[in-house]
Symmetry: C2
Subunit: 80 residues, 2 copies
């Protein structure tokens, strides 16, 4: 099973990478682009077969390592 | 409309960040974790209302700025 974790900055937290992309797109002549935010996506191959157990495990990974929960939100999806 | 762009390393391209996460998870005692890959997710607010036109525009952004197509793949999704 594969877990896909999205880690994004919480609303209100400054995102300099997103701002840099926004300005670069503007410089390249792309119109109509509003706010840009950049986050991370982490794909994990898991041996687990039980999805509920896997969700508990991956949530634990997010809390301990993958996300800084002071400034970041995370979401977890699974594919087989 | 919001465009969500996933940028991931192509298969076979070395991913040191993913490897670092893999080792850190192992060090924290998480079992059954196979390969870990890390990518980027970029969320763009767009003024466009036509999804086909937006897809063309965002594809152009990916080719010119958001992804290094030599070593990275990208995929584009939309939410309203």
């Amino acid at each position: 099973m594969k877990a896909i974790v999205h880690v994004t900055l919480k609303n209100g937290v400054l995102d300099p990478q997103g701002k840099a992309i926004e300005h670069a797109l503007d410089g390249l002549g792309f119109d109509g682009v509003g706010e840009v935010r950049q986050g991370k996506v982490i794909e994990l191959e898991l041996d687990a077969s039980d999805r509920d157990a896997a969700r508990t495990q991956v949530t634990d990974m997010c809390e301990k390592l993958l996300a800084n929960t002071v400034i970041e939100d995370y979401s977890i999806d699974f594919t087989d």
